[in-house]
């Protein structure tokens, strides 16, 4: 058995409103920033998986992401191994 560290990024689906992202955009002028747009805010989950192989670990991560970490109605996720 080995340990693998993964990161799952969960972002609001396109079309789902993202009030947090909008709030950040709204505060940019106060920081004197006018070159930033399309801010989207999501979650980043890092976790360690114990498994025999990386692909075994990935399977577990993907199940977790599907079942728990993201709500498929409103969010999309991607998972990657962290080195």
């Amino acid at each position: 058995m080995a340990e693998f560290r993964f990161c799952v990024s969960v972002m609001p689906k396109p079309g789902i409103l993202d009030p947090q992202g909008r709030a950040v955009e709204g505060s940019l002028p106060y920081l004197g920033v006018d070159s930033v747009s399309s801010v989207r805010i999501g979650r980043r989950v890092e976790l360690t998986v114990e498994a025999a192989t990386e692909s075994g670990a990935r399977t577990i991560v993907e199940r977790l992401a599907d079942d728990l970490l993201a709500n498929p109605l409103i969010e999309a996720w991607t998972a990657e191994a962290i080195v």
Binding site: I16, L17, P19, Q20, R43, L68, L69, N71, L73, I74
Partner: protein, 229 residues
């Protein structure tokens, strides 16, 4: 007639729900989330609070509590389930009612007294509400903005699945689509709403309008008990 109130770690309106269910005439018992049987409860309330701290997403962790299997089975058998606030979020995460509840549009926790329009009186949750009456009760939540993809929203409206809408001069407290405050599932026996009827069940607290919803629940469940399916 027994109402079971499910207690998740972090639930904080469970005692309020028990109290209000008793005021509505029920025998009320609390059901610890690690149990897998309902101890003879005829109707269930998933109370408000912050189950698992509402960490990750409100309701996301609670839906995996051991008791949720029994809750689903109860619902599948046609048993009544009422989710209030956090309970609504849990039902939505568990897929027992449609939709998702996300951060309030204001990005702030909102506590305020609102008026609730009751869209249907032919449900087990609203049968005791007099015609034309709007209900006054508090909302208290940070993630109560109801969202549903446009097509699903249309079919929800078509099947008259929206049971409650915000109807206050100050407007919708959270940015919910179509001012939706509460919905009912397709079969009509699972209901979730963000406002807190249990906190508006005695005049001394400012309103007893909420008791009408609990009375409806208790009467409907009692009727179902009396006439076993």
């Amino acid at each position: 007639m027994k109402v079971g109130v499910v207690v998740f770690p972090g639930s904080n309106c469970d005692r309020d729900a028990l109290h209000a269910a008793r005021l509505a005439g029920a025998e009320a018992l609390s059901l610890w989330h690690e149990q897998t049987d309902l101890h003879g409860a005829d109707a269930l309330i998933l109370p408000g609070g912050f189950a698992y701290g509402d960490y990750l997403r409100a309701g996301a962790l609670a839906r995996f509590s051991p008791i949720m299997g029994a809750v689903s089975d109860h619902a599948a058998r046609g048993g009544l389930v009422l989710g209030i606030c956090n309970g609504f979020q849990i039902l939505a995460e568990a897929g027992l009612v449609p939709g998702a509840l996300v951060r309030n549009a204001s990005l702030r926790f909102e506590h305020r007294w609102i008026r609730l329009r009751v869209e249907r009186r032919d449900t087990p949750f609203t049968s005791a509400v007099p015609d034309g009456m709007t209900l006054r009760m508090p909302v208290a939540h940070g993630e109560g903005c109801y969202v549903l993809p446009a097509a699903d929203l249309r079919s929800l409206e078509e099947r008259r699945g929206v049971l409650f809408r915000y109807d206050s001069p100050e407007g919708n407290p959270n940015g919910s689509a179509h001012d939706i405050a509460g919905v009912i599932d397709q079969a009509g026996n699972v209901c979730g709403l963000m406002p807190h009827p249990e906190r508006a069940s005695e005049a001394v607290l400012g309103s007893d309008d909420g008791l009408l919803l609990l009375r409806s629940l208790v009467a409907s469940a009692a009727a179902a008990v009396a006439v076993p399916a």
